[in-house]
């Protein structure tokens, strides 16, 4: 029983990271109808960037804010330089190649300069675990689901209530029509990538104290976040976060009851089966459209 509580708690925390990354993929996909495969590495920049800036003497909040802002700029640059020119036609897939390549470049240049090993990111929230029954969890880990839920609501508010958010939805729905009402669709897409970049780096910063900040911390997590977004149907914010959290919990249960080695094999198998059963994704919407 205690073991199950432990798995649920750590699963909730790990799953929230997948959820946050999937949320970023959703934001970028909505605007550009392209997938930014550098995203796991942008996530990594949040953790690694904060560690590096703190080693340079900046206090934690300043270091984190700077790293997140830097990652937002990286997100924008990726859109402008590596996605937009390769996404001109409806069926373009050049962005796939360019973003995968740039992601590898970010990761390997980080390995070369920062080093291949993970480094701790000390925060007050990883000093003492909280005991819940016989299970223990760091407050930092509990911060992740809070952040995932807060980000979901913030994003929903942004899409529904703000002018920019509604413009982003208009671009997502129909780029041409958005242009015809005066929306600069390119600018909105750039902004979407910057927001996603900041969000991903925020997740990387939050999880780094738990997993250590390393150059490769985003590779598998980024892939899983993408997978979660696909399974959820990349259609709404809540859906991707819910699937992310569920996937994290499922992973921890598999890890606990079977083995760590079985985790990814069974986890990915589960995802493939779900995709077979729900080709539109679990929350993929039937388009509201009448012709």
């Amino acid at each position: 029983m205690e073991a199950i509580v432990q798995y649920l708690l750590t699963g909730l925390s790990a799953g929230s990271v997948y959820g946050l990354i999937a949320l970023g993929f959703y934001v970028m996909w909505s605007a550009a109808k392209a997938v930014n495969f550098t995203y796991g590495d942008v996530f990594m920049l949040g953790g690694v960037g904060t560690v590096v800036l703190m080693e340079l003497g900046l206090p934690l909040p300043v270091a984190a804010a700077t790293a997140i802002a830097g990652a937002a700029v990286v997100g924008a640059i990726v859109e402008r330089v590596f996605v937009r020119p390769f996404n001109r036609e409806a069926n373009s897939i050049g962005w796939m190649l360019t973003t995968i390549a740039v992601g590898i470049m970010i990761e390997s240049s980080t390995t070369a300069t920062y080093g291949p090993l993970g480094r701790p990111l000390p925060t007050p929230l990883v000093e003492h675990p909280i005991r819940i029954g016989g299970s223990g969890i760091y407050p930092q880990e509990l911060l992740l689901p809070v952040a995932a839920i807060a980000a979901t609501f913030a994003l929903e508010f942004f899409y529904k209530r703000t002018v920019l958010g509604r413009a982003m939805r208009a671009v997502s729905f129909n780029r041409v029509a958005a242009g015809l009402v005066g929306i600069d669709a390119d600018r909105i897409t750039l902004l979407a990538f910057a927001i996603a970049g900041g969000l991903g780096a925020f997740a990387g910063f939050l999880v780094a104290p738990v997993v250590q900040a390393s150059a490769s911390m985003g590779v598998i997590v980024g892939l899983k976040g993408f997978m979660v977004a696909i399974i959820a149907g990349i259609a709404n914010a809540r859906g991707v976060v819910i699937v992310g959290i569920l996937y994290g919990v499922a992973e921890k249960l598999i890890e606990g009851f079977l083995s760590t080695a079985a985790r990814d094999a069974i986890g990915f198998t589960l995802m493939i089966l779900l995709l077979l059963l729900f080709p539109q994704g679990l929350f993929g919407r039937a388009e509201v459209r009448k012709v």
């Binding site: 002018v163 509604r166 413009a167 041409v176 015809l180 009402v181 005066g182 509201v288 459209r289 009448k290």
Partner: protein, 244 residues
Amino acid sequence: MSEAILSLSGVRVAYGRIEAVRGVDLTVGRGAFVGVIGSNGAGKTSLMRAISGVLRPAGGTISFDGADVTGQKSHQMVARGLAMVPEGRMVFADQSVRDNLVLGAYSRIGKDDAGIAADIDKVLGLFPRLSERIDQLAGTLSGGEQQMLAIARGLVSRPKLLVIDELSLGLAPKILDLLFPVLTALNKEGLSILLVEQMASYALAVTERTYVMENGRVILDGPSAQVAADPRVLDAYLGRRGAA
């Protein structure tokens, strides 16, 4: 030239190596109501997409309201006072009718909300059916209502020229009898209109001047009454002598 709101010279549009528009000259005078007719695939929609900045022309020049606007993007053209109602309407189906209308005035949101509200009231006066559906999702409207919304959304941007691509597409004659008088009234108030229409008889009846396109070129233009009497138009577009 300054009396023309829009003038095209030698405009070409190409998709890769395929030329859809092969050098078109066209002028819309200020306050004029001009039609473009032609069969499917004649290049009408490509031409409108070039005019509204959705596509970059492969050649030629476009001037609008006294300025060279060749190669400007659609959001820039909207800012200059050109509104296009695109083929297929393209309403934002996942947003309410009201939100669609507000987005029509995108550049003024937050700066002139009172003006936007007044403009929306005005367009709802033109299309009372939209006010009944104001809080519905645009995707739930009928085709005719969506066309009304698309026109209304264009008008909220306070255009100097309204371009309408295929007004009649998929709409019942009853709806068209509702829509055309609104356009005529707007034109009488001083709005310049460029109407692309496959249903030639409708376009020739309401416009002052008509261009006939075929294979990416203008093959005939002049006062609509004169164009309507041209044997080529009678044959091909008005269904005389049994032609479709």
